[in-house]
């Protein structure tokens, strides 16, 4: 650590005004403040309200909270691969290695593209680098199917970082969740590679490791199977044709996007976020309540036209990306509603809309992504209404008080 600090201090003059590497000033600054407390802090005199946590530490805690899901995703990718091969042995380290090698290129590409664009924009605008992409870069591979081609992901990451974040002014100014827009862009641009029954189980070699599965192997996610279900009893099957129960979905050993299958790991992440007070429990709670409420309505009026209505309200929470969206997507402080009442409304509507989309639109097996994006757009309106009604209430109160006085 000492050595690193000395090195940074030694090369610092190169990056300052007039130094020969001035063009990379923002990059240097980004790494310097990422590794150490900034050398220029507020002066000692005067009244200052100070918190030990800044946006960089916030981001790191979110990344830490994502780690259980990430490691489980690695394990599950290997596990599904073994099942797809028809094997019944599950060597732990082999599976972890296979999962790791499957996800590694995606994480690298997401960070390279996203941070590259962020660095370029920061340099161009003579601003400091904001670390917003630290979280997005790990979220993006986690919410995509494991077989997503790298170039597609790179295109979508570039699109969403430029058009959702940078044109609005960078980190903290985006109206939509960057990671979710990346997924939405992929979903609408390349539907064949983002849904259906060929992409959710890793079938090829991962960086040359593992055995490829026979051509023509298919396995849809539980929600995908429900959406295309027609007639007869609803039976969900996994990668090797074995039945899937709600308990499997809770543990997470089911086919799905990389990091969002295990509700247990998501709950661990939620606990970390809530313990560190990074995310707001009101949003998480109201998303869950909204999902249960709409799931209950859908289940009460179950109909063969919409097979997803056979799922019980609790199943609605366990399958698909609902839990992940509730904990990591809806709570994004930049795009969520800011007022306390607004947070309840925002979260509740996310839960309701997510279940409406997945139940009543068989074209979209999963609605959590679209629900969060839609409510991102409405969050400022919700805040406006809450603030206005508060102002009106206070105005009325002062009028009554002045009359009585």
């Amino acid at each position: 650590m000492k050595f690193l600090k000395n090195y940074l201090d030694r090369v610092r003059p190169n990056f300052e005004e007039g130094g020969k590497l001035h063009a990379f000033r923002s990059v240097f600054d980004g790494f310097d403040t990422f590794l150490f407390t900034p050398s220029t802090t507020a002066p000692k005199r005067g009244l200052q309200i100070h918190d030990a946590i800044d946006s960089k530490r916030t981001m790191i805690i979110v990344v830490l909270a994502l780690m259980p899901c990430f490691f489980f995703g690695m394990y599950n990718t290997g596990y599904q691969h073994q099942l797809a091969l028809g094997l019944d042995t599950f060597p732990f380290w082999d599976m972890m290695l296979y999962g790791f090698l499957s996800i590694l290129p995606k994480v690298v590409v997401a960070y390279l593209v996203g941070l590259g664009i962020e660095f370029a924009f920061a340099q161009w605008r003579h601003e400091e680098i904001q670390e917003g992409f630290l979280v997005s870069g790990i979220l993006i591979p986690m919410i995509l199917p494991v077989e997503t081609p790298l170039w597609m992901m790179a295109v979508a990451v570039a699109f969403s970082v430029i058009f959702v974040k940078e044109v609005f002014g960078g980190t903290g100014y985006n109206i939509f969740n960057v990671a979710l827009v990346t997924r939405a862009v992929l979903f609408f641009s390349y539907p064949a590679q983002m849904s259906g029954d060929k992409v959710f189980v890793a079938t090829g070699k991962a960086l040359g490791y593992g055995t490829p599965v026979v051509d023509g192997y298919t396995c849809a996610t539980p929600l995908g199977q429900i959406a295309t279900h027609s007639g007869g009893a609803l039976e969900l099957t996994g990668a090797a044709g074995e039945p899937i129960s709600a308990w499997d979905a809770f543990v997470g050993l089911i086919p799905g996007s990389f990091g969002e299958t295990s509700v247990i790991c998501i709950l661990i992440g939620a606990a970390i976020l809530l313990f560190c007070r990074i995310a707001d429990w009101r949003i998480m709670l109201s998303v869950v309540v909204g999902g249960l409420f709409m799931g209950w309505i859908a289940n009460t009026f179950e109909t063969p036209t919409y097979p997803a209505s056979y799922l019980s309200p609790v199943d609605q929470l366990l399958f698909g990306g609902f839990a992940f969206a509730a904990v990591f997507m809806a709570t994004d402080p930049v795009t969520a509603a800011r007022t306390t009442t607004g947070k309840y409304i925002y979260g509740f509507l996310i839960g309701v809309i997510a279940v409406i989309i997945r139940t009543y639109n068989n074209g979209y097996p999963e609605g959590a992504m679209l629900a969060v994006l839609l409510m991102n757009a409405f969050a400022p309106l919700i805040d406006y209404c809450v603030v206005q009604s508060n102002i009106r209430r206070r105005m009325r109160r002062t009028r009554i008080n002045s009359k009585t006085a």
Binding site: W151, M152, V185, S189, Y190, Q193
Partner: protein, 208 residues
């Protein structure tokens, strides 16, 4: 008579500095609707040039006889007449394209660019100047249509004017056409990109 009109700027200003689509933000709706392929975009552009030029001339010729309180109706009648002619011509000589454009040829009547130019220019200027203004604005509109149509067809379908331009070897290597480019939202984003480039080249147009 009014001050002398600079015919050159009347014709060429709408190409870039006063472009109806990317500076005045008019006619966006049809830009979104007809630009999924290049061919309909070009036909639409030519149709608008023709309708705009001739309706400008006709309104300019009769501008002193139109009673002010019914001028919008008169303008609409003139535009509607011309649009019907264009629509019939397309159905006769380019049936496929006219089917692709469907209602949007008819909706030229409601294109804001037309009403804008008739109200703002043809009602106050002589026929020759109005004709040039119509051509200029029509071409300004068509340029944007063609640029947007070019990118949307190239990236969305891998073709240009129906001919495949993305080589087969790309598809074999795993390239896939971008389905989002076919959908209207990407037309909006493409127009936004054009505006972005245009504004950064013409700093005087940047809003504070």
């Amino acid at each position: 008579m009014a001050e002398k009109i600079d015919y050159k700027s009347v014709l060429f200003n709408p190409f870039s500095k006063n472009n109806p689509v990317i500076v005045q933000i008019l006619g966006i709706c049809s830009v979104l609707a007809v630009t999924a392929k290049l061919a309909p975009a070009m036909v639409m552009g030519i149709s608008v040039i023709a309708v705009l030029a001739f309706s400008n001339v006709i309104i300019s010729l009769i501008r002193n006889t139109i009673p002010t309180n019914i001028r919008i109706i008169v303008q609409l009648v003139v535009v509607a007449g011309l649009v019907v002619i264009v629509s019939q011509l397309l159905q006769a000589y380019a049936y496929d394209v006219s089917k692709q454009l469907s209602v949007f040829i008819g909706l030229i009547i409601t294109n804001c660019i037309l009403m804008g130019r008739l109200e703002a220019f043809a009602m106050a200027n002589r026929p020759w100047a109005s004709f040039l203004d119509g051509i200029g604005n029509g071409v300004g509109y068509a340029i944007i249509l063609i640029i947007v149509g070019f990118f949307r067809e190239l990236l969305g379908s891998g073709t240009l004017l129906g001919f495949q331009v993305v080589p087969d070897s790309f598809y074999e290597a795993g390239y896939v056409n971008n389905g989002l480019m076919i959908l209207p939202p990407m037309a909006l984003v493409t127009v936004a990109c054009i505006i972005w480039v245009h504004r950064s080249r013409n700093k005087d147009l940047q809003e504070p």
